[in-house]
Symmetry: C2
Subunit: 170 residues, 2 copies
């Protein structure tokens, strides 16, 4: 299973690609999609959308994993984040990819094993799990974290879906 994790932002959108086989995880790629606040909003949305679309085409992931935001600094930054998030998600949706959302608590629990872990602990753990000497961009590390969260959550979700199906069939 190939997972594309996305950490959206109006200036920097981090991405991280991992591949999971059985219990083993492998790093594929990571980086950031950059926009400038001097560009018109329409151009920035297109850069994020097309950037994610290109990753989807190039790496053919099975799913896009993205953090679900419940807290934002203020309404203006929440609006910007919403723009970036939707642009990234639509690139996946338009390519027929499923999109899975995870809370910060779920990501931290899955990566560090503790829902209130510090950001730096999460990033160190991502490097350890993927056997990477360093990850250049913080946003790319966060994107890898949400991808790892999906990798750990997917088997549970599959079991729940199967259990749900069995219930329906009764």
């Amino acid at each position: 299973m190939r997972i594309l994790g996305i950490d959206p932002g109006s200036r920097l959108t981090g991405y991280g690609l991992i591949e999971g086989r059985g219990n083993r995880l492998r790093h594929v790629d990571n980086g950031v999609i950059v926009t400038s606040s001097r560009q018109p909003l329409a151009d920035r949305l297109k850069i994020i959308h097309d950037g994610v679309a290109e990753l989807v085409e190039r790496f053919a992931p099975d799913v896009l994993a993205i953090e679900n935001i419940f807290l934002a600094r203020n309404a203006q930054s929440a609006l910007k984040l919403g723009h970036a998030r939707a642009s990234a998600m639509l690139a996946a949706i338009n390519a027929g990819l499923p999109v899975c959302e995870y809370s910060a608590l779920q990501v931290k629990s899955a990566v560090v094993g503790y829902g209130k872990a510090e950001k730096i602990q999460v990033q160190q753990m991502v490097r350890t799990l993927l056997n990477l000497p360093e990850i250049a961009q913080e946003d790319a590390a966060d994107a890898l974290a949400v991808a790892i969260c999906h990798f750990h959550s997917a088997p549970l979700q599959n079991r729940l879906a199967l259990a749900g199906n069995r219930k329906v069939k009764k």
Copy 2:
């Protein structure tokens, strides 16, 4: 010139199509794109995106006009609005359409002639200007208002662009 006005919302996205020839305005269509809060976010973004994409294909507008949001009730509603806004804008952007943003002040000034006009005054003026007995949905009326705003602003923008070009050529 055919203008598609959009008033995005996470539940209801209003749209309004008008056609301007010289100083004359004609109503083409209006309505709302509906999503439900019970649907997953990815499905809702797709409904808004595909709904706007369908309007673009069906009516072939020259431009998409949308209100620029500076105030939102809170961060959570701003995030939802950002999702809906980006989804609508991307449908236009992906079809190669220019996107023009206007503030609430600009919309009210263009439609009513007074930047602090009440919402109801704007809606009444939209009906009068387009010679419509009624507009079923409030969000559709707001979408028509931003389309009318673009119609009135476009000649000025064109003149400014021409003036800018002349300056550059000096």
